[in-house]
């Protein structure tokens, strides 16, 4: 689809300054953005490593589910870096195992809500008229439900299975994305280059996928990143209320939930998983915000 000349470039020609390259260079010029990206990369590495070990059935350095009542509620030490819980399980190992669950929930739920949001928003914004009206009233209706309780009742009925939790979180959180995509489409639909493409005889779908969606990609990508910690927080909240991923599988939320009884005697059961949730969420929010600023088009 791209027309590229085969003739060699003259020696003094610099590479074309593509829009993507500009966004990347502005993103990496922010120190905070780079630090948060480092955090995200760290959590990813841990989560993927733990996930792969579990998938292959290989033992972790310390079994996250191995109980040892003789060593229960131990404070952080050389043997148990982040201490042990009320059943003598190693908190660090449980947090590592939980990171796989938390990031899976975050990413898959985001993908579900992004998929629905883009389709609904694009149809609504591009075609307008009664379709737009119907879809947006559905969005309004969904927004009227307190979503956390909707998720709670759905899980109470369907049972606490990780894939059901992910699907339910994704299914109730696409409304924001849909509204954003619709707004972007409404603006870009009236832009001159879209009109130019239509005057040229370009088909509706190609106008959407080649001209509108790529130009709306930056804000959509940003909401996607920011919705990851939202899903992680919802899953932690569910686990805390023991509606989350069923035990003995560790998640950041249910480590806190199990530890809350011992909050005065064993602070490490609350503080470390709490810090993990906090820092992962903050890293995603900061990275998303930095990306939004990097992608903003400067006035001409």
């Amino acid at each position: 689809m791209t027309a590229t000349a085969d003739a060699p470039l003259p020696a003094n020609t610099r590479l074309p300054d593509s829009p993507l390259r500009r966004v990347a260079s502005r993103f990496f010029s922010s120190r905070l953005a780079v630090v948060s990206l480092g955090f995200i990369a760290f959590f990813f590495t841990v989560a993927i490593t733990a996930g792969v070990l579990q998938l292959l059935g290989l033992p972790m350095p310390m079994d996250p589910n191995a109980t040892n009542l003789a060593a229960k509620l131990q404070p952080p030490s050389a043997a148990h870096w982040l201490g042990t819980d009320n059943l003598g399980r190693d908190v660090l190992s449980r947090m590592v195992a939980g990171s796989t669950i938390s990031l899976t929930v975050g990413f898959v739920a985001m993908a579900v809500s992004l998929g629905i949001g883009i389709v609904v928003g694009a149809i609504s914004g591009y075609f307008g008229g009664w379709i737009d009206n119907v879809l947006m009233r559905i969005v309004d209706a969904l927004l009227c439900f307190p979503s956390f309780f909707l998720i709670l009742s759905a899980i109470a009925i369907l049972g606490p299975n990780i894939w059901i939790i992910i699907a339910v979180i994704g299914l109730v959180s696409w409304t924001g994305t849909a509204r954003l995509v619709r707004a972007e489409f409404l603006t870009l639909r009236e832009s001159e280059y879209v009109r130019a493409a239509r005057a040229m005889g370009q088909s509706g779908w190609k106008v959407i996928f080649r001209h509108i969606l790529p130009n709306a990609a930056a804000p959509i990508f940003v909401t996607a990143i920011v919705s990851i910690p939202d899903a992680i927080l919802v899953e932690s909240g569910l686990s805390f209320l023991s509606f989350g991923v069923p035990p003995p599988q560790a998640t950041w939320g249910n480590i806190i939930a199990d530890g809350k009884t011992y909050i005065l005697d064993a602070w490490w059961l609350i503080v470390f998983p709490g810090l993990a949730i906090f820092s992962a969420s903050l890293a995603f929010y900061i990275a998303g915000d930095a990306l939004r600023r990097a992608a903003e088009t400067r006035p001409q």
Binding site: M1, A3, T4, P19, A196, Q202
Partner: protein
């Protein structure tokens, strides 16, 4: 037979009011407009902002649905055609836009922008032929062939407008709607673009509907001039006549507004 015949063209936009968004009236953006354009000739269309001149151009190219009226291109009625039936004719009827910044997709290279129309209308053309054609078009409009790998934001307003012209010329149209192609440009650049459009017309015999709000620009390029006011054509005459012997009061007001030196 004229290349383009426009007969009693009306484009009305509904005015919606109240909580139920019921139709309470119409804005008559284009109201019973008729004119013809001969092959290879230029018809100027002038009027103030909001007079409906841009709507005329967009309706002719079926970018906005008409309310009533007839448009014949090369003897064929085009308004009742479906988008699918009309697509082959889009090759013959192109458009140049007012805003040189907004009319080029910022994520496409110049080569991709100019070759898009080639992909639509000449799907069998090989990639190297397309590249060669884009290079030829860029040279034709006074740019360099190696600019095809750059992105729109690297160009000035005048250069971008040349890119827009190259895009319109890519499919060898017989008719181009020039929608205020120079209003957004510096005065010195305006003359260059108008001259380029005239050279292209001489070389390829393309007919123009040249829309502008500035009578001076239109007089220079047009064979015939239409003056539009509140959606209606209030005067239609040769460029010479409009300039030296305007009949309509509104035309006289427009002429008085043309700045002159001395």
């Amino acid at each position: 037979m004229p290349l383009l015949e426009v007969e009693n063209l009306c484009t009305w936009f509904p005015v919606l009011g109240g909580v139920m968004r019921r139709k309470v009236g119409d804005i008559r953006a284009v109201d019973s407009v008729s004119f013809t354009i001969e092959a290879g000739k230029t018809v100027g269309l002038v009027g103030e902002s909001g007079s409906g001149k841009t709507t005329v151009g967009r309706t002719i190219l079926k970018l906005i649905p008409p309310t009533s009226g007839r448009v014949k291109f090369d003897g064929r009625e085009i308004l009742p055609l479906s988008e699918r039936e009309f697509r082959p004719l889009r090759r013959e009827m192109q458009m140049i836009f007012q805003d040189p910044f907004g009319s080029l997709n910022p994520r496409f290279t110049i080569g991709e922008i100019v070759s898009e129309a080639l992909e639509i209308h000449f799907p069998k053309m090989s990639r190297s032929d397309r590249t060669a054609r884009v290079a030829e078009l860029l040279k034709l409009v006074g740019l360099q062939a190696d600019m095809m790998r750059r992105y729109p934001h690297e160009f000035s307003g005048g250069q971008r407008q040349r890119i827009g012209i190259a895009r319109a010329l890519a499919v060898e149209p017989r008719f181009i709607v020039c929608d205020e192609p120079v209003s957004a440009l510096d005065v010195s650049v305006q003359a260059q673009i108008v001259n380029l459009l005239q050279d292209i017309q001489e070389q390829f015999g393309i007919a123009y509907l040249f829309i502008a709000h500035d009578l001076a620009v239109v007089e220079h390029i047009s064979d015939h001039v239409l003056v539009m006011h509140h959606g209606k054509i209030v005067e239609s005459a040769s460029a010479e006549e409009i300039y030296h012997d305007p009949k309509n009061d509104y035309t006289k007001t427009l002429l008085a507004a043309v700045p002159s030196i001395g």
